[in-house]
Symmetry: C2
Subunit: 312 residues, 2 copies
């Protein structure tokens, strides 16, 4: 099953010519999950040429304009396809107000159900969305406004099948092997019965995608980053601007990299939400600085597709 992240934009604060605001679309087979939705995200999505109108759920980090003002456009365009399932929007307090007042003030044409779920901060960290095959967990991150990170965590996969064990136990090659791999119990003609655990290794962890922006480099974040197959994390500033980052309750690329390193098990980290003051060259500096700390770090680029493969 494919799991892939499209980095729709990498900008912070304001959209720029050639740099969309930070947003990530995660695709897992037919499911599309959108993380943050600033002004212009619908254009960034359209640029990909995906059938993106059937987004299942949108997860909003916080209600600063650069993370939400693209919502009305996305919601209206989602009316251009038939859908029989609701669109879920998750976010911190005020996200429902934001959606509802805009629907009302703009008298938007929406031909499907929108369900906005405001997540109360004291309830976190917790699973906020759960569907076949994966869950989405939300956790608070320290910023100048109530702000959440999110992790998509796949259910564990069955362990590896060991044919040599099946042969050893005298289970004949054929449909019975398939049943065991699917988790069923089987009985042989000689009366002996076997279950999956007799021929398969331990369950393997599913993949994990983690999205964190905007946040101070709080050491507690390592618990949420741990074992992420793809971590998307803000790396808004060069390390020389660590003071500015702290003052604005953001972090530098180096700080993001140190957290990813300390977390353990992070396979790759894409940085986003770059200061609008920075040129491409400035962002290259952020990447270089971060890689010196955590070699699996990279600077996200608008339109970048990042595959998230199984480890084993």
């Amino acid at each position: 099953m494919n799991l892939e992240a499209y980095i729709l934009g990498t900008g912070g604060t304001m959209p720029l010519p050639g740099r969309f605001l930070t947003s990530v679309l995660l695709r897992r087979e037919g499911d599309l999950l959108l993380f943050d939705c600033g002004e212009g995200t619908q254009v960034a999505l359209r640029r990909l040429g995906l059938r993106w109108k059937k987004i299942s759920a949108i997860f909003i980090s916080h209600t600063h304009a650069d993370h939400v003002t693209g919502l009305p456009g996305i919601l209206m365009l989602s009316s251009q396809v038939d859908r029989d399932t609701p669109l879920y929007i998750y976010g911190p307090p005020k996200i429902r107000e934001y959606v509802e007042v805009n629907r009302k003030a703009l008298d938007m044409y929406i031909n499907y159900e929108i369900i906005v779920r405001e997540i109360p901060k004291p309830s976190l960290p917790d699973v906020v969305y759960s569907t076949e095959g994966y869950q989405v967990r939300a956790f608070p991150v320290p910023h100048s406004r109530t702000c959440y990170g999110y992790s998509v965590v796949e259910d564990p996969r069955p362990g590896l099948f060991h044919p040599e064990k099946a042969r050893e136990l005298g289970i004949p090659v054929g449909p019975l092997w398939g049943k065991l791999q699917a988790g069923e119990q089987i009985q042989l003609e000689d009366g002996r019965s076997f279950s999956a655990s007799d021929v398969m290794g331990p369950a393997r962890k599913g993949r994990k995608f983690t999205f964190i922006t905007d946040s101070l480099p709080d050491p507690g974040l390592v618990n949420e980053m741990r074992d992420a197959d793809l971590l998307i994390c803000e790396g808004m500033y060069q390390h020389a601007e660590a003071d500015t980052a702290a003052e604005k309750r953001h972090m530098t690329g180096v700080q993001a990299a140190a957290l990813a390193r300390d977390a353990g098990g992070v396979r790759q980290m894409g940085m986003v939400h770059f200061s609008p003051r920075y040129t491409k060259r400035d962002i290259q500096v952020i990447e270089d600085e971060a890689r010196a700390v955590f070699p699996a770090a990279f600077a996200g680029k608008d339109g970048m597709l990042v595959e998230i493969p199984y480890v084993d």
Copy 2:
């Protein structure tokens, strides 16, 4: 005094990669007036590289999303410069609600005064904004929601100075000529007195810029279009789609051109708000069709600068 229009975008309904939503920035010396402000307009403005953060007033045609959802971004960015004058926003009913609920829901940082003036439809047509050198007139246009067009009309300029008349009257070349041109009365040493009208022709009309979108091709529009030095008018559809245009309460390029022709005195007409279904080639068809009816018609292009010179 320069008067120039920047066509920031030419799209209708939704922003596209490579096509911003319809919006026009009118510059008259230090004054910047913005007409409509859909998602992405701040990016289109930034692309021009102007000092655009000090917009004096924003005029909104109507509260469909593709004409207003860029406002929060523009309002926030306008906080990045010092300004001691308010920013005015003019539009139909609900525009104040739209601005206020977004300010509140997003808890926007705004360090200057925003004055929203909702224009009641029964009061129109009328002058809604008046400042040194020009006025802005609003008028209702027929669409699926209360919608206004706007005309910027410069004050009349003084007539031409006729030096031969001044000589004939025995007024000596020098400061007295300047005083007469500035509209002052003068007295010669021999006791005779003269005023401007003795040496100058009749006052000349100022320039006129008219902005109309979204609208049915109502014949009454000709009264507002008349004598426009630059008319920006929607030409959303090819003429083969006149039925679609009517159903959606829009017009074709041909219909816009016929109105501009019938109005009389329209010097150039730039068409905007093209259907998102249309490619550049399709829009070329709109231009070709419109020019056959009114040769001074052209299809607007994103980022286009249109100078509006004095006629004489």
